[in-house]
């Protein structure tokens, strides 16, 4: 056994950073009454319950717009009904029906994206797309 520097991860393809094990190191593990525990002031702030935040008007608006965006990206002339997409994917036969529907939709989304971009982005989806990028960036920052 050797000493591993703090900043170096261990091999083996795992992905756990400190963030993912923080709740275990701080909240689980053996506690012995006779020992004093270090004060965790400044750490508790990480444990905010998201469910309180979810039920807000902002969230409703965001999800409504996200859904509008999904349909926009599927193409204005195309029915968003899933059967058609499922049919396409079943023909290609690569994956199961449900998954096929989803990857099919995802493919349609990226096709529509490309199309919109080629057309110079003059249509109304320009705005939602900006939102999407911003929300993705937020997600990345949280990780």
């Amino acid at each position: 056994m050797t000493v591993v520097p703090a900043q170096q991860g261990r091999g083996g393809g795992g992905t756990s950073g400190l963030y993912d094990v923080l709740e275990l190191v701080l909240d689980r593990g053996l506690v012995i009454d006779a020992f004093v525990r270090v004060s965790l002031v400044g750490i508790e702030i990480l444990k905010i319950d998201i469910r309180v935040v979810v039920a807000s008007v902002d969230t409703y608006l965001r999800f409504a717009e996200a859904c509008n965006r999904l349909d926009l990206e599927a193409g204005p002339n195309r029915s968003p009904g899933l059967p058609e997409i499922v049919g396409d994917m079943t023909e290609s036969g690569a994956r199961g029906k449900t998954k096929g529907a989803l990857s099919g939709a995802a493919q349609t989304v990226s096709d529509a994206f490309q199309q919109a971009r080629d057309e110079g982005g003059s249509r109304s989806e320009a705005k939602p797309r900006t939102r999407r990028t911003a929300s993705n960036r937020r997600k990345e920052e949280q990780e």
Partner: protein, 238 residues
Amino acid sequence: MSTYVYGIAHRSHPRPDTELAGVGDPPRPVRTLAEGELIALVSDAPEDLRPKRRDLLAHQRVLTHAAAGGPVLPMRFGGVSPDDASVKSVLADRAEHFEERLTALHDKVEYNVKASHDEDVVLHQVLADNAELRALTEANRAAGGGTYEQKIQLGERIVAAVQQRETRDAELVHDTLMGIAAAVSRGPASTGWLVSVSCLVARADTARFLAAVDRLTKENPQLEVRLSDPLPPYSFVE
């Protein structure tokens, strides 16, 4: 001089070839205190110990290394004993309990699994499953996005549907893993995941467990699953 305690192991636990670096700056060297059939992994406690990134990682690292050599009962971060003698007396007083736990955790590791939703995929699923929501979305879209009221009304129902799926998928992840793990322990609800499950997995079952996690991800494209490295059994010491 107070003593920082990392974990408890059998007396027969192999000692590391090289000295492990513990908490503090500079890092205090990790040493062992023996009492009866047990040892405690300890170091001197720095005066101003705080839950800093460096020290949290040091705690985690010492335990991960120790656990590679055999079962260890990990302490929660930040346990400080007044002195070495007090650590030994705790080992003596609770020897039976510690030994029972060490036996139970022999050749087992903890994996923490956190799942969250891929938002786009979930929204697709929600709309695919609910013709009414699909029609509502269509109507709003046709009206150039809909009025403020319409958007809120639609959004509220979408959020409810997404939350329903969060609950359902949390159960799915929990139940799937429970079928393979020796024990599971559900973590707190928090930002960044819809479920966090710690699983106690026998080393012999590791491949089967990892395959199950993999299958879970493949069969449920709406799930983004984060799997930890093998961890000391933090959630199964009590």
